[in-house]
């Protein structure tokens, strides 16, 4: 049983590198200010512990081609890997304490060592780090020894509990808002869970997951056995309840969180539009921000009294049809030059378009029209709704619902099928009589329309339009959220926007590492679950059919999202 030991040590090494990264990038320091359990454990010091547990769990698992390991060797491997993590972090703490590296690594401050040592000083602290790594690694490996359902309940409820602690600003605010201060006081204290709150959340979630694992199949079978009309009625009721909650949401969550919900809504709109271009038609557009910018600028030009040359001062709603027209026009302008480019070339050229748009809006040359770097001020409110986050929520919600319905219907229509065929294989689609030029332009035009409406609301929501709000990161943001949620799926867009836009807005600690986390999300999703969290059914089938094939060429042909070089199709 010696072969898995080097593997365990290797896993430990990678875990240690992850620990170094998390520490030096500043995440540990930042989350030191947040408590997991009030006044006992901070989230910052839990992070290295989590890494040790994960590493132990990974090291304790046996690769498929080896016979199952004995109990003691599983624990041993976990402990070995955890110890490696502990050693590496202890080394980091020692280094940080003895050498001044802050001129290179801004986070390598003595404070970091303090956190890693659990504020026990170098001597005892090192023992704690290494011993803790050993124990936690063994504990992580120990999860394999428990029955699978129990292990899963424990692991998931552990994660949920940490999320519950992180979400204190959100859950606490909601509880205060709906006058449930007693519960809030019971669960939370000074920005973290209380001891009793921690135990309660952990036990409840674990029991819930355990119960679902035991009984869930029976419940699903009962639903499946229901007659179709009753199932439909059930679905309708579910939709009605959801709609009711959506309508009351600003009142439930209160003023500050409505702001966040509004931002999420704007990104849902943006994601739905990008989803048409990328998810349905398979055209990877990295310059989607151009549409968003055009929407915001057109709105500002048409409505704002501060617009430099041209100010008809239309009301917001009268300007909106022109915004959509401008969008369709700009969609065609961007779409036409890239019609013949496939795949990665298209991505880079559209990225170029996005940057061109921003640079032009920002330049002194365009200043007479767009206000240059100062932007356009005093964009009016979308009356009768005001800029108040609890009020502007409703038009945004309305357009999100319209867009979601439109996207669903489009996907199921002839157009949607044509896009589907085009995404799968452009040449075959063309051979079967699909006019790819038309459908590509349609995808760009519709995507642009959604993006422009989103931009219009962005402009009216914050009341000013600056060129620097429209950088490449907006495109990346929208792309990351549809990939996380699942390309081609509307529910996926909503989930993606909630996780990638909502969470960072809520957790100011995250805001700084938001793009770092996006990067990790994009890479990890592509490596582990390219279909996203909530994939559309056909997309999941496609990608899994693909991953069964071994032959490279067959792979590319079947997935066929696009072919290689810049092919001119005429």
């Amino acid at each position: 049983m010696s072969t898995p030991l080097p593997r365990a040590l290797m896993i430990g090494l990678f875990g240690g590198i992850a620990g170094l990264h998390v520490s030096l990038v500043g995440i540990v320091n930042t989350f030191q200010t947040r408590d997991l359990i009030a006044d006992i454990v901070t989230i910052g010091s839990v992070l290295p512990m989590l890494i040790a547990i994960m590493v132990g769990w990974l090291a304790g698992s046996t690769p498929k081609h080896l016979p199952p390991a004995s109990r003691s060797s599983t624990l041993l491997h976990g402990a070995a890997a955890g110890t490696v993590v502990g050693l590496i972090l202890a080394g980091l703490a020692l280094l940080v304490n003895s050498v001044n590296l802050t001129w290179i690594l801004v986070n390598a401050r003595p404070q970091l060592a303090e956190i890693l040592y659990f504020e026990q000083g170098p001597g005892l602290g090192s023992v704690i780090i290494i011993g803790g790594g050993l124990l936690l690694g063994a504990a992580g490996a120990g999860l394999h020894l428990l029955p699978a359902t129990i292990a899963r309940s424990v692991a998931i409820s552990g994660i949920v509990t940490i999320i519950a602690a992180l979400m204190e600003p959100f859950i606490g605010a909601v509880l205060r808002n709906v006058e449930l201060r007693a519960i809030e006081g019971f669960l939370y204290q000074s920005g973290g869970l209380t001891v009793q709150g921690f135990i309660l959340v952990f036990v409840l979630v674990a029991a819930g997951i355990y119960g679902w694992a035991k009984r869930g199949d029976r419940a699903k079978a009962r639903v499946a056995a229901m007659p179709p009309d009753r199932r439909r009625a059930g679905k309708l009721i579910a939709f009605a309840v959801l709609f009711g909650i959506l309508l009351l949401l600003p009142q439930i969550v209160g003023q500050r969180l409505s702001e966040v919900v509004g931002t999420v809504g704007i990104y849902v709109l943006l994601g739905l539009g990008l989803n048409i271009v990328v998810g349905f038609a398979g055209l990877l557009d990295l310059g989607y921000v151009a549409f968003y910018a055009v929407g915001a600028y057109t709105t500002a030009l048409l409505t704002s009294p501060a617009s430099p040359v041209f100010n008809p001062e239309l009301p917001f709603w009268a300007a909106l049809p022109f915004v959509i027209l401008a969008a369709a026009f700009i969609g065609l302008m961007v779409g036409a030059p890239v019609l013949r480019l496939r795949g990665d070339y298209l991505a880079i050229v559209t990225l170029g378009f996005g940057e061109i748009a921003r640079e032009i809006f920002k330049s002194a040359w365009a200043q007479p029209v767009t206000g240059g770097a100062q932007g356009i001020l005093s964009v009016p409110e979308p009356l009768p709704f005001t800029r108040d986050p609890q009020s502007i929520y409703y038009p945004i919600l309305f357009f999100c619902i319209i867009a979601a319905i439109a996207a669903t219907r489009l996907a199921a229509s002839r157009v949607g099928r044509a896009w589907n065929a085009m995404r799968e294989d452009e040449s075959v689609a063309e051979a079967t009589g699909i006019n790819t030029v038309k459908y590509k332009l349609l995808a760009f035009g519709l995507g642009a329309a959604f993006g422009c409406v989103s931009g219009a609301f962005f402009g009216t929501k914050i009341g000013v339009v600056f060129p620097d709000s429209f950088n490449i990161l907006v495109s990346i943001n929208a792309l990351a959220l549809i990939i996380l949620g699942g390309m081609g799926n509307i529910a996926g867009v909503v989930v993606g926007a909630l996780v990638l836009v909502g969470l960072p807005e809520l957790l100011r600690e995250f805001a700084e590492y938001r793009l770092l986390i996006y990067g990790v999300v994009l890479v990890v999703m592509m490596l582990l679950r390219p279909e996203g969290l909530l994939p559309s059914r056909s997309r999941r089938a496609e990608l899994h059919e693909v991953s069964d094939g071994d032959d490279d060429d067959m792979y590319a042909d079947e997935a066929g999202i696009d072919t290689g070089r810049p092919v001119v199709s005429s």
């Binding site: 290179i104 990665d344 640079e359 030029v437 592509m526 390219p530 590319a556 810049p566």
Partner: protein
């Protein structure tokens, strides 16, 4: 069938109008600028030389794109970040050597030390990138590695931000490279000369490596046909790793040369040079090594000269703000009119 032809013609017509319009705009602008004699001859000359210096940096980065594309048919979107890591490493190495007094006592050795460390670190970053983000996805649908590359690019960028801070850091000055040289009627700063000479030297070394060594021959074979190369006993995986390593080395060198010109480092600095170098690679014909060098030089000169030449004739205020717009327009125009690039193989079109 007839309707189809007309539609295609409409698209073509639109593209020709767009491209022709842009070219005419640039041409007429140049005519106006030259006719009005807005800029002194010495200014033209210094702009061209600055363009060549910048272009040789682009060329070094573009080589990384082109080599990887030639072998994997994949755009290594994160290559700009490899360059940025090289620049940061060069910054820290130079600062350390400066504090140790070596920049004064032995400046030539110090320069080569800095160059070596930054090339090494960039190479390591490129290798890690290949191992973690690209190798597991080899053979996956094309968009998948591209999205991973975007993710990896964000990760590298914001890791640098977390590690090194979000501010601009000013570079220590190499007193060795102060002053100017005059060759006949040409005069250029020593820094520019160093940048151009180093870039040319590295490109020559690469050319010899690809054309004269065994590994180079294997690289060419793999880029012709991976499967056949594998059958001939070439270790394709090793060649791919070598390619990424070379791309990384060149990007690291580009990192220090770029900081020589601009004298500062920032975590976001890899983005624009990365895209522009990609433009250069496409301009020269992606997959073509000489093309990448040529494309880099042309793009550098166009970027430096373009705003003043094309735009100032129209009386555009501060035309240099629009230099990125010109660079990206070049990309769009090339892809419309000659997607295989200047030196690209014809069968690519």
């Amino acid at each position: 069938m007839r309707g189809r032809r007309i539609r295609f013609n409409l698209v073509n017509l639109f593209l020709w109008l767009l491209g022709g319009g842009l070219l005419a705009f640039a041409g007429f602008g140049s005519f106006l600028t030259l006719a009005e004699g807005r800029i002194q001859p010495s200014q033209w000359q210094s702009l061209v030389i600055a363009g060549i210096a910048l272009g040789s940096v682009y060329a070094l980065i573009a080589l990384g794109y082109t080599l990887v594309y030639g072998i994997l048919f994949m755009i290594n979107f994160a290559h700009g970040e490899v360059f940025m890591w090289g620049a940061f490493t060069a910054f820290f190495a130079a600062t350390a050597l400066n504090d140790a007094g070596m920049m004064v006592s032995n400046p030539v050795l110090a320069f080569f030390l800095v160059l070596a460390t930054s090339m090494l670190v960039s190479m390591l970053v490129a290798l890690m990138l290949e191992r973690v983000a690209y190798r597991p996805l080899r053979g996956a649908p094309r968009l998948v590695p591209l999205i991973t590359a975007i993710g990896a690019s964000l990760f590298l960028q914001y890791t640098a931000r977390g590690f090194y801070g979000s501010g601009v850091r000013a570079y220590p000055d190499y007193t060795l490279f102060d002053g100017t040289i005059s060759i006949g009627f040409l005069s250029l700063s020593v820094k520019q000369a160093v940048v151009i000479l180093s870039a040319v030297g590295l490109m020559l070394a690469l050319y010899v490596f690809i054309n004269r060594t065994r590994t180079g021959r294997a690289m060419r074979a793999v880029s012709e046909d991976k499967d056949v190369a594998a059958m001939m006993g070439i270790n394709v995986d090793r060649i791919i790793v070598t390619t990424f390593a070379i791309g990384g080395l060149l990007a690291g060198a580009a990192g220090i040369l770029y900081t020589l010109i601009f004298n500062q480092v920032l975590f976001f600095m890899g983005f624009l040079p990365g895209i522009k170098a990609f433009t250069a690679a496409v301009l020269g014909g992606i997959g073509n090594v000489i093309g990448a060098a040529l494309g880099g030089l042309i793009l550098g000169v166009v970027e430096q000269l373009g705003p003043n030449l094309f735009l100032s004739g129209y009386g555009v205020p501060s035309p240099n703000q629009l230099k990125d717009v010109i660079a990206f327009s070049v990309l769009v125009l090339v892809l419309i009119f000659r997607p295989s690039g200047l030196l690209g193989r014809k069968e690519n079109t």
